[in-house]
């Protein structure tokens, strides 16, 4: 079982879009190690010929009648936005300096 070092946790945090302090990285790293050791037992069972189960009660080909129904108003959609401008969501810049 690979023990997670600080760099591994930093990588996970970046993939997860979570800004962590060094102290938090150490703390979560230790806890994730313990949890991973506890859950790695799944490898002990389940042979190659066992298919995966993705849903508890599978339903397939779910369709609905192709009828137009009203959607939320623009006012409702923007009502919870942290920032809005000109009837749109206002977001921070999406390109890095060198990409601009």
């Amino acid at each position: 079982m690979p023990a997670l070092d600080r760099d591994d946790v930093a990588h996970l945090a970046r993939l997860s879009r979570l800004q962590l302090t060094d102290a938090e990285r150490d703390h979560y790293g230790e806890q994730l190690d313990v949890i991973l050791a506890a859950v790695a037992r799944v490898a002990e069972v389940a042979a190659d010929d066992v298919p995966p189960t993705t849903h508890a009660v599978p339903v397939v080909n779910v369709t609905r009648p192709d009828v137009v129904v009203p959607c939320l108003s623009r006012e409702d959609v923007l009502s919870g936005a942290p920032a809005a401008e000109d009837d749109r969501f206002r977001v921070p810049r999406i390109l890095d300096e060198e990409e601009q």
């Binding site: 996970l12 969501f89 810049r93 999406i94």
Partner: protein, 504 residues
């Protein structure tokens, strides 16, 4: 009328329908009870007296005009703060949604309104339903009304505490790995996870989509069944919703499908013994004896894959969580932090999520991200899904021989607040017995079985095959009646009186 907060939901509905009491009086009595007791219990994160009384008035007006009343018209209910409802905030116990007012109603909320159920407010929960103690809430800890130093279970701990404290006769929770059944067990009430897909997830903020399921809390099996029938049913807005009639759970709870005489009940070998508190095991053994004396044919059933339910669950649920919670990016709703004009969108997201999520949510997002990442996917997530298949096969084999399966709901009674707060694996073990049926998808009920260690409630879990929800109600009602005959009344009669100074 006598104390309206002591009536069962079915009794309240009958009294409102007969005009013996108004829905407004019932709602008022419960709002008063919340005011008197919730400073100590902290079951609710949002109560709106005006909105509640307006909903009650609508029921009274419908009755006055001779309109048809639903089976639970005028009955108050506590709603877990993970369902959207217009006119109230939805926080999911998270700072990242602090103050968010959703622009739409959950299907469950629409169904409640159509049935004349009066929503009192939103209840506290572990953040995004991740936890077993309601300690992982950004809005404070909820206390168990049996002993205020103990946890009320989780993640639906606000809902279970509200029902046990007589703040509401009914509540709604959600159950992903045991978040209805475990809180019900440790607060001495009835809680049911219906078959996956029975209750619409539209407007239920997602944690683990292949497992999340809404369900009822109540003080009796019949009340739980009446709420189950209001909540359940096909919803085109949820693609996983089952398009089939709801099983006859209320009829089963009334005994109309028969008792337990001649039914085959399986006791699961893997869900008892080592790891289960002596008081829990003792109450469970008594229930097994009682079922035998009522004419049930009790046999032992071995489900060896159940030993791997905990590791499989704590890979599948965090994996789905890491994907679902990606939507909290600080762009369209909720908190945004670090937007200083210099930080780019990725930095703003990372700062927002660091400030907005609590430790357990961060742990699970990172755990899920790890389990889904290249190089580890097959060993973790892929293996967990295969284990899920093996667990399903164990259940299917068992239900070829028996009608219901039986186990303790939890390994221990309510543990002290703080005891497991920073020990994730110890916390996860609270769900040991509830996880298998979550992974399988079948219905499961927790029913009060008596008092165990430290004079705290113990629950027994009844499980049945997919879409056979009526079986758990049938056995549950028979057991409830036999146990209450033995006790001389409901278990909740033995709860210590809460001080009613309150936060008036």
């Amino acid at each position: 009328m006598s104390d309206l907060t002591r009536l069962d939901a079915s009794e309240t509905a009958a009294a409102v329908a007969a005009g013996e009491v108004t829905a407004r009086e019932v709602a008022g009595a419960h709002l008063d009870r919340i005011e008197q007791t919730d400073e100590a219990v902290h079951a609710f994160v949002h109560v709106d007296r005006e909105l509640t009384l307006a909903a009650a008035d609508a029921v009274d007006a419908a009755r006055a005009s001779g309109g048809p009343l639903g089976p639970l018209a005028g009955v108050p209910l506590a709603l877990k703060d993970v369902f959207t409802m217009r006119g109230a905030p939805t926080t999911c116990g998270s700072k990242i949604l602090d103050g968010w007012r959703p622009p739409y109603d959950a299907t469950v909320v629409e169904r409640l309104r159509d049935a004349g159920v009066v929503v009192l407010g939103k209840t506290n929960m572990d953040e995004f339903a991740m936890g077993s103690s309601t300690e992982n809430s950004a809005y404070g800890v909820t206390h168990n009304p049996w002993n205020l130093e103990r946890i009320p279970g989780g993640s639906s701990g606000g809902s279970s505490a509200a029902v046990a404290a007589r703040q509401a006769p009914l509540a709604i929770g959600t159950d992903t790995g045991g978040s209805i059944r475990q809180p019900a067990a440790v607060t001495g009430i009835v809680g049911v996870k219906p078959t996956y897909g029975a209750v619409s997830r539209y407007g239920l903020v997602a944690f683990s989509s292949s497992l999340d399921q809404g369900g009822p809390f109540a003080r009796s099996v019949l009340d739980a069944a009446l709420l189950h029938e209001v909540m359940a049913g096909h919803d085109p807005r949820d693609a996983t919703s089952i398009d089939a009639p709801v099983p006859p759970v209320a009829a089963a709870a009334r005994g109309e499908l028969g008792g337990v005489d001649g039914l085959k009940v399986g006791v699961v070998t893997q869900l008892q013994g080592e790891g289960y508190q002596p008081g829990v095991q003792a109450r469970f053994d008594e229930v097994v004896q009682l079922l035998t004396s009522l004419g049930a044919d009790v046999v032992e059933v071995s489900c060896p894959s159940f030993d791997y339910a905990l590791p499989a669950y704590y890979l599948i649920a965090p994996s789905e969580c890491s994907s679902n919670l990606a939507r909290f990016d600080g762009m369209r709703y909720g908190l945004r932090a670090g937007d200083d004009g210099k930080n780019g969108v990725e930095q703003v997201m990372a700062i927002t999520r660091a400030e907005g999520f609590g430790p357990e949510v961060k742990r699970r997002i990172m755990l899920g991200t790890y389990a889904l990442s290249a190089g580890y996917y097959d060993a973790y997530y892929g293996q967990a899904q295969k284990v899920r298949t093996l667990i399903r096969r164990d259940f299917e084999a068992a239900y070829r021989d028996v009608d219901v399966l039986l186990s303790p709901t939890t390994p221990t009674v309510a543990f002290p607040i703080g005891e497991r707060a920073d020990d994730p694996v110890a916390m996860y073990k609270a769900d040991l017995a509830t996880l298998p049926s979550s992974l399988y998808g079948g219905p499961a009920m927790s029913l009060p079985a008596g008092l165990g260690d430290d004079d705290l409630p113990v629950g027994v879990q009844l499980m049945a095959a997919v879409q056979r929800d009526e079986q758990v109600y049938r056995v549950g009602a028979a057991l409830e009646s036999a146990l209450q005959e033995r006790w001389g009344g409901p278990l909740l009669d033995r709860i210590p009186e809460l001080a009613t100074g309150g936060a008036a």
